[in-house]
Amino acid sequence: MVELTVKSLREKLDKKEVSARELTQAYLDRIESVDKKVESYITVTPEAALSAADKAQEKINAGEASSLCGIPLAIKDNICTEGVKTTCASRMLENFVPPYNATVMDKLENEGIVMLGKTSMDEFAMGGSTQTSAFAKTKNPYDLTRVPGGSSGGSAAAVGADLCAAALGSDTGGSIRQPAAFCGVTGIKPTYGRVSRYGLVAFASSLDQIGPVARSAEDCGIILNAISGYDFHDGTSSRLPVDDYTSKIGMSMKGVKIAVVSEFFAEGVDENVRKSVLAAVDTYKAMGAEIIEASMPSLKYAIAAYYLIASAEASSNLSRYDGIKFGHRADVGGSYNDLIVASRSEGFGDEVKRRILLGNYALSSGYYDAYYGKAMGLKQKIREEYADIFTKCDLIITPTAPSVAYGINENISDPKKMYQADFCTVTVNIASLPALSTTCGYDENGMPIGMSIVGKMWDETTIIGAADAFEKQFDRIGASL
């Protein structure tokens, strides 16, 4: 039962084949027995979960259940949950208990979800391996010696290991899509502004977006329906009406134009990934889609542009951690400045410190125009190149990551190599576009390979419909733990 989709669980709950409490207990039991190996959760909240399940059951019994009522979900630990620790996987926020809910949590609680707990991540969402977490260095459910990806590695691994029905993650440069690819599940980064960021601990505010990680594109659509929409508390959230993101489930691919952008398949992408993603493109062609070729000359600069913009924003956002209002406070005497310096130096991990240094460098006097100014210019260039490609097509397909999940000790000590591995995902954030990753194959070791489907702004519906069309004919192989 724990391996079922949200849609199937909804039917079981509504038909009373299982109660919300039994379903919740089944996940809690599995977390108890399996998560020692996977380490996907930082905090598990069994009592609150069972209590939420009982409340959901009352709604179900009264025939008032909405699509997520009684569904056990996991929440990434950078999304504020009132009364439940939200650590961002950092010593800095080890004891932080938010006094308010993120807007997405209010929305999900109104739906009657059951929160099982908070999932691990790279510290402050900075990384692609979940190995910079201060509390739970999550493993890949397909091979416990490999990384789950990141930064939403805990959420993706929890879904892949059947430790929740679905989860929320956040994506600044690929942090939903890349772990979804590594863990053999589906994840969508919505258009920037589609989902409120209020209560999401800020990393890079112009790029961050919350989105679902689930077992299918349809499940992603169901969750996106619940969390999307304008929010008074987030001035960058969009007032555009919210679609029904499941409305194109079952759509025909006939006549849908899909672009293959050559630069995404060039040097740096492993042969097995390239073959698998191009085979998926062929599958779409066989379904009647029209495939066109396209080019994005600026892709080679995307990593630099992304890391400069994201780190510049991070260095500013993280300046709020002073050890006084919340977060780690060093036990030192001395001046106000001594306290701030000691608190920050003790609270932040190495990768977070590197990003703060880089952000300060990009913004500092004498370097601003050469780095941050150029990066912002490139952001506009990349947006224009996407806009041009989308005059000729409805969707773009790319690999989600240049390789399958790598070994836990590979790459970690080489930040340059880690950063370069993000080139398949970062342009989508730079251009504010929606994109979904779903599994399109497995390598010779059984490790999942992900493809990304990128759409036009606000067109999550077509992305989800197209991903569903592929998933319906693809045999997903679950992780065995």
Binding site: N95, R239, Y307, Y336, D338, K353, L357, K374
Partner: protein, 92 residues
Amino acid sequence: MELDMVKYLAKLAKLEFTDEELEQAVKDMTSIIEIMDTIKDIDITYDPYKDNHNVYLEDLRPDEAMPSLATDKLLQNAVNQENCFVVPKVVE
């Protein structure tokens, strides 16, 4: 990247490093800046007027006072508080 630059950035960032950490930071930052340098010489300029598609100036929320969180909730995460945020003495 030179050691002095890393020390300067650390000062701006209000971070302190041991000598060993500084040595490592110089290595890491030198390697990272190599990637960033790829865009230094591109002939491109940023046009801020093109970049405001998510800002809805015609529809800003009214400037009205709204209830905020209660003081005890705001203070609940401060390690050192006596019904206010306690800071070291800042005026001599």
